[in-house]
Amino acid sequence: MSSEVVLAVQGIVKDFPGTRALDGVDLDLHKGEILALVGENGAGKSTLMNIIDGVLQPNEGKIRINGEEVVLHTPLDAQRYGIGFVHQEIALCQHVSVAENIFMAELNTSKKSLVNYNDLYKRAAEILAPLGAVDPKKRVNELSISNQQIVEIAKALSLDCKILILDEPTAALTESETDALFKIMQDLKAKGISIIYISHRMAEIFSQCDRVSILRDGVYCGSLNIAETDSKEVVSKMVGREITNLYPPKFQGDCTKEEELLRVQGFTDGFRFNDISFTLHQGEILGFSGLIGAGRSEVMKAICGLHPKIGGSVAFAGEQISISHYEDAIQRGIVYLTEDRKVEGVFLDLSIRKNISALKIDQVSTNGLVDRHKENGLSDEYAAKLNIKCASTTHDVSSLSGGNQQKVLLAKLLSIRPKVIILDEPTRGIDVGAKSEIHKLIRNLANEGIGIIMISSELPELIGLSDRVLVMHEGDSCGIICGDDINEKKIIHMASGLEKVGV
């Protein structure tokens, strides 16, 4: 790693109406290093990156590239200075070929009226070769998410970028895809390209990055050399306090002796899952583990009437029930938190209030009319209970950070006083502080006698919270484990289909 500074931002201030998103932030990026940028949701990481990419303009502060002060009016300016930004959400044209996507900017500015496709494919293949096996002629929507990400990176590299910003690139990737991405990052680093890497995953940061810069509430909290620090120090700087006792204590005694809330038997949809049976008891947290695509979410959606099934029965508190639509489940007090917050969860352009009351609007209505007082009272009560950080619950949900949006969804579930809560990846894309808050909340709810099912792909979370864990492999149940059996090795074994317990 050389000490040549390729990018320096100094004293960046950015105001949004009502809030100061960034308050005098500094950041140095050296040639050929991987710099991790961490901070809780809402700390200003995205705002800062959008300023570096020319999407937003700072109110104050300077940006220097290779020592020269620059003003970036648009992303195009940033491209000219060799800055490439791979966004968290994939922004490719889904219906055209990989090669056309990679050279989109070039085709756009080209003065020729015809495209030489053979040449285009050849050059795309050259750029893609070191990144992975992606066919430049394929249409983007035929690719897996990880390969789409590779196309995004190739697109940034085709612009001859010297600085690459990766915003949570591993959020949607499987383990092997993640490893492939890390290899690419190290190769780029060896070529002298500097990378800013945004992630919530400490393990990745400590295995891949050279330095880490920390933001908290829009303020720069310093940079640390990875070799000289540990995750505890980074986390405490991010949160501004020590995070101790990450997981609350589990259920004392045998939870299966408690009253039975839910008995699911022989659930089958003939496609994604097959013959799934389990019970859920009062005060229990039942974890669901398995690889992505093992059918966990589909089982849960089927229980709630959100996914078709061809066989199986559900008993709720000892009574056979039939749920044909999610509304039936809600009436019984069975609620589901989706894993896809943006698409299936929040109403982005509606107020926090209207989001919270959406699950059971009849609850705050009289004679078919929505009672504003009731609605406001209910929403404000749960917003306060869950510590949602907002100036007012009349604001749109889109103004909240990811963690707070998740809390709005939780508030919405809790507002109907549920008996069974099904959580699908409850802490996906959420920062450390909000995460531990949500963990505590989940355990508190269980302690109040609510039965909780939690799907999680994050093993530490699953192991730390669950009283029992059901592991799925390719749509089949591999059995339920409890107590000391709940450990990483055992779960991975079962999830890979190598071991079954009591089935």
């Binding site: 949004f16 109406p17 959100l306 639509h325 999610y326 509304e327 489940a329 809600i330 589901y336 989706t338 698409v343 299936e344 969860g345 929040v346 109403f347 982005l348 352009d349 509606l350 209207k354 959406a358 699950l359 059971k360 609007i361 009849d362 209505s365 078919g368 009319l369 929505v370 919405k412």
Partner: protein
């Protein structure tokens, strides 16, 4: 002394300014200001503009269309669009007219015609929710089907219905005191539906669905049922307008109501309904249709050829959509 005066003046001005920005801050306020401005200008340009006769004519012209606008507004709120309203309106007219000429009681004929238009709405709703087609193409197909049915029913020539009983003609031609009965029907529907759109829990479900259909589904809302209901509502209101027109003109014309979709969609969008769904008010849409009518009437009073009307309406729509777009873009940036 004079200093005091200026301070006072300033405070009066600033309160006025505050009121102005407040009125402007919601869509209906802006529209009212625009309508007032047009009225003030027109009252100078034409002595007939501010007469009761002219206003009666303006009200009459937009009140029947206004009933269709109510349905279109709800349709836009749920994120759909209905291109078939003009044809469905005409279909109700022709069905009722044909049945009456076959000797049926006009009231019964009208009820059957209303049921037919509701049925068309239900079929369109079925294609949208169960088959999974988009509103645009489904309603475009039914625009053709309904209009074609009108020509089949009438064999292409207008049905003359001068034998309609007086009690039935009262709907479209009668007055209560100085107020035409049409305007009274219109006001009742508008006031009731504006209230329902703002307050009712069922309309709240429509807003949820229009804002994010998947999230609505994941909130336990029976999205398909709601969408089907809105489709039936929109077509039924169009059918009702058809019956009113039949009573007013004493005729059923197979080419009637062409271009109604343009007027009603324009009115709703001018009034703040979003083509992306999740936004809109009945009051706003009605002010939108009022503005369009006032401008049409002004063009006539100013001796501008009728041929200019659609062109001007198109320009107004373009302007309104652009304003809407910029406001959204601004909101996204903030």
């Amino acid at each position: 002394m004079s200093e005091n005066m200026t301070v006072k003046n300033n405070s009066v001005l600033s309160t006025l300014g505050n009121v102005f920005t407040k009125v402007k801050s919601f869509r209906e306020g802006t529209l009212i200001l625009i309508i007032l401005a047009v009225c003030v200008i027109m009252s100078f340009l034409s002595p007939y503009f501010m007469t009761w006769g002219n206003w009666r004519a303006i009200f009459l012209s937009f009140s029947t269309e206004g009933i269709v606008v109510v349905g279109m507004t709800v349709m836009l709120i749920i994120g759909g669009i209905d291109l078939s309203v003009g044809a469905v309106m005409c279909l109700a007219m022709c069905v009722a007219g044909r049945l009456f000429l076959m000797g049926m009681n006009p009231w019964l004929a009208s009820i059957i015609a209303l049921a037919v238009s509701a049925g068309v709405g239900a079929i369109m709703g079925y294609f949208v929710t169960k088959i999974g087609l988009v509103h645009f193409i489904t309603t475009l197909a039914f625009l053709g089907i309904a209009r074609g049915s009108c020509y089949v029913l009438t064999q292409g020539s207008p049905l003359s219905l001068f034998t309609l009983p007086a009690s039935f003609k009262f709907i479209g031609q009668g007055s209560v005191g100085p107020f035409p009965f049409i305007i009274i029907i219109f006001l009742i529907i508008v006031i009731f539906s504006d209230f329902m759109v703002r307050k009712s829990s069922i309309m709240r479900k429509v807003f949820y669905t229009g804002s994010n259909e998947k999230a609505a589904l994941f909130s336990g809302i029976r999205v398909n049922k709601i969408k089907l209901g809105v489709s039936v509502l929109c077509s039924s209101l169009a059918g009702l307008a058809g019956i009113i027109y039949m009573s007013r003109f004493g005729a059923a014309t197979p080419g009637f109501g062409v271009g109604l979709e343009m007027t009603t969609i324009s009115a709703a969008v001018i009034g703040g309904a979003s083509l992306n769904g999740g936004e809109g008010t009945v009051l706003g849409s009605i002010l939108g249709v009022a503005l369009l009518s006032i401008i049409t009437s002004s063009l006539i009073l100013l001796d501008v050829s009728v041929y200019w009307q659609d062109l001007v309406k198109g320009l107004i729509l373009l302007f309104a959509v652009s304003v809407d777009h910029f406001q959204h873009a601004k909101k996204m940036k903030a």
